[in-house]
Symmetry: C2
Amino acid sequence: MKNVTLKQIAEALNISITTVSKALKDYPDVSKDTKQKVLALAENLNYIPNSSAVNLRTQQTKIIGVIVPTTVHHFFATVIKGIIKAAKKKNYLVILMQSEEDDMQEKKSVDLLLSKGVDGILISLSNNTRDFNHLEKIKNHDIPLVLFDKISKITKCSKVVINDQKAAYDAVAYLIQKGYKRIAHFRGDLNPQVSIDRFLGYKKALLDNNIEFDPSLVYICNNNDDFNDGYESAKKLIEIHKSNVDAIFAITDMVAIGALKYFNDNNIKIPDDVAIIGFSNWFMSSVITPSLTTVDQPGFEMGKKAFKLLYEEIKHKDKKIVHKTIELETRLIIRNST
Amino acid sequence: MKNVTLKQIAEALNISITTVSKALKDYPDVSKDTKQKVLALAENLNYIPNSSAVNLRTQQTKIIGVIVPTTVHHFFATVIKGIIKAAKKKNYLVILMQSEEDDMQEKKSVDLLLSKGVDGILISLSNNTRDFNHLEKIKNHDIPLVLFDKISKITKCSKVVINDQKAAYDAVAYLIQKGYKRIAHFRGDLNPQVSIDRFLGYKKALLDNNIEFDPSLVYICNNNDDFNDGYESAKKLIEIHKSNVDAIFAITDMVAIGALKYFNDNNIKIPDDVAIIGFSNWFMSSVITPSLTTVDQPGFEMGKKAFKLLYEEIKHKDKKIVHKTIELETRLIIRNST
């Protein structure tokens, strides 16, 4: 069965196509009786309005685009869930794209979304995005844009973030308060803002507590979420610093769990020999042995908030937009690894 | 800057709108010189063709819809990654929706996707989907449909699945071969086909090996992926059967890890006191202590295959379609929990 058209309904009822169209839109100049007949027949025939035609009329697609680095990631999966849920409440659909940490793929995704005429775009940037022309392009096309989690500080648009620097500071300050003094940092890739901010928070917590910053205790993980990076960094850390290190603040839970696995495999006791703090509060961190102290990052909330900001900008597109930055609260979850 | 229109390009070059339109589409009856001018200006002005207008012409949206129970799930996140990656190669975009295991939400999602005029739909059914009228509706609208993982056996359409019964059979047969005799099953919700098939595989492996099937060793987890279900079932199992049970075959890794956590918390040794096998091969199962023996379910491959089947049906929509069912191989991954 092909899609039923207005014409077929009109012919079946022996009325004009215009009347059918008006009846379906509940126009006042169509009689109640006719409306009922049209609606009943449309229902019986599974009539579905042609969306492309609808778009041309309303100039809205009721579709937004979302670009994330990857879907296979507990935090992003949670954000996506929040976005889709909030979008649904406003009858919006979500086209999901992934950059796979590739800036070119991110730029191409933006072009494709613009060509589809989406009403707005949400992006969490790839680790390798170093210029932001594609974000300016979105703005030049008058399409609302909201960045979340991995943002560009210099792009003028609304954003939903956490305070990475403060969250990292609090995590490291907690370690210091518990008596740890030689605290290593398994930091992320050099480029993304979140790695920079978490590193700065780590450093500031040390300095504020009169602990000398030792660059040899900082290990760079090329991928922010790589189990092997954590495992290998832990191995190097122990080879070089042996017992002259007592704690690790890791950029993410995945890196922390890599380190934890290395210590478990080598009979290094957590937290007695080395304490570990992660970042994100992935589900895994609560069931691993020992369970992982970590910073809880509210992904679901972030997704919902990001959509809401975008929706407000779509709704008031003709007005002057005041960009907002929403900073969500994080919490330190204390478990058995510290 | 609003979207540049064909009219603006035409006026700037003092040629007709039709000529601009033809030049952009590389029609032979426009001079090379004109084409170059039009393309250069369109490029400079960031011209993007209006997608709704394009759709009306081609009768294709180049968008497919995907409905999964949830995005926050390692297996589904992996399938989604595979779908988006395969779709991108064919310039298709993916609208992602989630049923949240609610059949009404699934049905509404189908209606919304149909109203948007997507070119095809991929679905993994919710645990609570008991009638399949919405699937028939998709077919009645001549929209290609492919089901994956959680399917309806009676719906005639293409499918990508694993052989759940065989995979479960192999897992339990492996336990028996290792000498375990009192094997409990933490099964899933009664409705979905995957729970039924895994249960049948479990039962058949016992009977084929002359081990009596004991219904009191089967525990029903209301949600197939609930950590607490696994934890609580393990608790009940031990309360009732004490040392008269030596292994568990769990419906999913999440349920298995719930059980594992209960045993770890209560000094019950894995695998000496109780062995555990999970299902899915979530990343978590490789780093938990002890690491979990499990059945590897190829999510990424499933996503890619599902899109490819759908794409073939979209491409040959005017021809008679022969529905295919692709069965992907699973593998038993042996680790330390058995």
